[in-house]
Amino acid sequence: MRNRPSLVVQALLASCLFAAPSLLAQQGEASEVEAFAVIQAEYDAAYQQWMDTYREVASSGADKDVISKLRAERPSGTAYLDRVVKILNAKPASEDGASAAIWMLGVVRVKGAQLGSALDVLQKHHADSKQLKRVMLALSRNATPAVAVFLEKVSATSTSSEIRGRTSFALAEHFKTRANTIRAIAMADGKKLVRIVGTLGSDVVDVLRCEDPVAAEDNSSKWCEAVINDAEFAAIEYFRGTLGEHAERSLYELRHLSIGKVAPDIIGEDIDGTAMKLSDYRGKVVVIDFWGDW
């Protein structure tokens, strides 16, 4: 709609042709929004160039500081964000609109109002798009409550059972992330808190601070069960397995390996081959460290 000014605006434009150059400029801009592929190609090229340099320097045996400085110079999507937002606003219903929203959520991990508008575009115009699959993982790892609202809407309205199944599992994962984030906020010291606020925004952190992690875990279990109990969802292929298998594993984790649950016993042997059991250590506070010397 933004591409086509209404009759009134056209009339105004005609009458103010010389008086309002800024209006004209705006109209010209809107009809000439660049293609998403142009930005994608620029980003890919910048990334490739950085990657080549990084590999070369890293393999030349440069010292740690040089390498870590170079690592920090990895091209960020943020540099392209303004142009991507322009596409999102100009043609939300097009494939480019979907690509723009997915880029914002997956590459830049936008927060606040930008997160809201990207989700809004996907929900209004792309609830059945195959492209949605590409953003599920990023959304699973985002504790922002608006993400759950979006996923719930899509899982209720999409006509594609694959999208509904995948949003259901993304909801399970989102609520698990959310429980972990709620606990992390409660425990965070100054530095860690600054990092969390930087990722999620202070509004979201304030909301999560008042939430109950156990309630989030209950929601996660509920969505795992929704996947497991729907034969069609459970059979969907997902990361070297099926959604059903992944949901079963997540549900097991929620029931036995999350905070507040009695840890499963470990019955085995130590490095020297002597038998040992985790339950032998009852009565003591125990730190279990899964480690390897690599």
Binding site: E253, I259, G260, K261, V262, A263, G268, G283, V285, F290
Partner: protein
């Protein structure tokens, strides 16, 4: 990792506390060398010589290191706390155990 854990174990010697490793290296003899070299005084379960061993599989471990902190009843109380956060977590559990 090693220096922090060494000092934690040393500081809490005599307290109702244990650090237990679950080691997923592939070569047992090499692990024994590491334990000797780095002065690791705590025991580790042998995960069958693989990151896909029986213990890490049963515990759905997908990243290393993964940390769990259990209270005296074997209840999971903290996950993936490192450094100072691990110290704080353990100290808080020990304090509430001692006040019982």
């Amino acid at each position: 990792m090693y220096p922090h854990e060494r000092s934690l174990v040393k500081r809490l010697s005599g307290k109702p506390f244990a650090l237990l490793g679950v080691n997923s290296d592939s070569d047992r003899d090499k692990v024994k060398d590491v334990i000797k070299e780095k002065g690791l005084t705590w025991r580790s379960f042998w995960n069958g010589g693989s990151i896909n061993g029986p213990i890490s599989t049963a515990w759905n471990v997908r990243g290393w290191p993964t940390i769990y902190v259990l209270d005296e009843n074997g209840v999971i109380r903290f996950q993936n706390v490192r450094g100072e956060a691990m110290d704080k977590a353990v100290d808080s559990l020990l304090a509430s155990l001692e006040n019982k």
